[in-house]
Symmetry: C2
Subunit: 289 residues, 2 copies
């Protein structure tokens, strides 16, 4: 079974199916979990775990947990009081199908489910309590006020004003970068890697996370972005500061190359097979959507 | 220091204060955490921990975590797409002060913070990874699809229709009861109690949770309920089925007495001092607001 299939099979199976009173809730959770996407974060968990000698079966619950957190953030991000997006990945967004109330609760339930999955008996039996608690701490920290949610707040505050490069970078480092870093670190933790390897994985994640976001801004002015379901140039029309508006396209492209190279350099610390991670970093920096 | 002060001091200190870019977020989190309330859930964690011979300092992070989850659920519950409540505990609700977007994110951040607090180094050092992982599992399970959030969905589905007693009870068992049960169980786990004691604590929590909700329905037709910030009789005007509409006030009062007695019976299994828990159970069943 290829990685994508393995991740999706495990991910979908975690949504409880035998709760007759809560069917609208579980349907709404499944709708967004099954809406596709590149599954970058769970793939990073698996790859870094393998690179440090870990076992796929033990790493899989953590790979699924981070995808649940990512999915919850997308559902809440699309709500009318946030970005008010009607479409996500070419399909109606969660609240357009299930209503705002159920979408809100589906996001909350996915947030809780991520932590339940990382703490349940079979996960603890496969990985040990120390690995579980460490990964719970990484994911919850990178998800909260100093991570993903903190980045979303900076994003809200930067709307319709001219933000400087420091603020835009801080926003992206948290909003997008935090979960990508979390995935890389969690994979290493799954395999019991030492601090030096965890730090190298963090550096890899930090660099591809920012590169990913700069590419996003470039694509926003050069093509339609179906993955994000945004109309062409939406941030620009918004008067929102982006890497492109602050640095220009050519400097943005140079930065993407430099960040990608620094990410590839960070992989040199590892002895194992890094081909797939290199491909992933390059595919993110050269993607067309 | 009395329990309330001890809980509130620890609770407020967990909100990060040095994040200049995310000040609106942390202000919004603190606003709702500091809005008062009876702190029933954290007090139950501390009392059951003491009853089983546990240490207050070790139990306190778990007491705070459950109050964070409770607070996040109140913030999201008040949003316009949910109950649309402008007031909470006599003050404007979170989104009326900070806006819907920040209120939504403050709820999300408190949800994550609860799990961060239970997994951070000092918590693990004081309680051990096994206690932490078990409490994380209890809280995340009782919080999700088969617990608090699942109960909120049933509540939404029961609006403006005549629900039967089974559905109303299932709703309350999850929406209100799940976190109260979680608090009782988590307190026992903090002190390393055996399964028999955990089961007795669960039974206590189950009974006072339902009794609490029936009293709520009684108060809703007999007095104003400042704690919940609801106008008198709001559920009745809603055509929503309640214990009172289904059973009548007299039968409701009999059930509250029976449930409270069953809760007190469950405490007989414990050797230690149960006076405060008895008082708590009785104060909930005889409260006037």
């Amino acid at each position: 079974m290829d990685d994508l299939k393995m991740i999706e099979k495990a991910l979908y199976a975690y949504v409880p199916s035998e709760l007759p009173f809560a069917k609208a809730l579980t349907d709404s959770m499944s709708y967004s979990l099954e809406a596709g996407g590149k599954r970058i974060r769970p793939r990073l968990v698996l790859e870094f775990s393998r690179l440090c000698g870990g076992d796929d079966k033990a790493a899989l619950p953590f790979a699924c947990a981070i995808e649940m957190i990512h999915t919850f953030s997308l559902i809440h991000d699309d709500l009318p009081c946030m970005d008010d997006d009607d479409m996500r990945r070419g399909k109606p967004s969660n609240h357009k199908v299930f209503g705002e109330d159920i979408a809100l609760l589906a996001g909350d339930a996915l947030n809780c489910l991520a932590f339940e999955v990382m703490s349940r008996d079979d996960t603890v039996a496969a990985s040990g309590a120390d690995v579980c608690i460490k990964n719970i701490n990484i994911l919850s920290s990178y998800c909260g006020t100093d991570g993903m949610v903190g980045g979303q707040i900076i994003d809200l505050e930067n709307e319709n004003k001219t933000a400087d490069l420091e603020s835009v970078t801080d926003c992206d480092r948290k909003k997008t970068g935090a979960l990508i870093k979390a995935a890389c670190e969690m994979g290493c933790v799954c395999a019991g890697a030492d601090e030096e390897k965890i730090a190298a994985a963090r550096l890899f994640g930090e660099n591809i996370g920012i590169a990913f976001q700069i590419v996003d801004d470039i694509l926003d002015v050069t093509s339609s972005d179906e993955e994000l379901g945004k109309p062409v140039g939406s941030d620009i029309e918004n008067n929102k500061s982006t890497y492109v508006s602050l640095l220009g396209i050519e400097e943005c492209k140079r930065r993407v190359d430099r960040l990608t190279n620094e990410a590839l350099d960070a992989l040199k610390l590892f002895d194992g097979e890094t081909e797939l991670l290199k491909e992933l970093a390059l595919s993110l920096s050269t993607r067309k959507n």
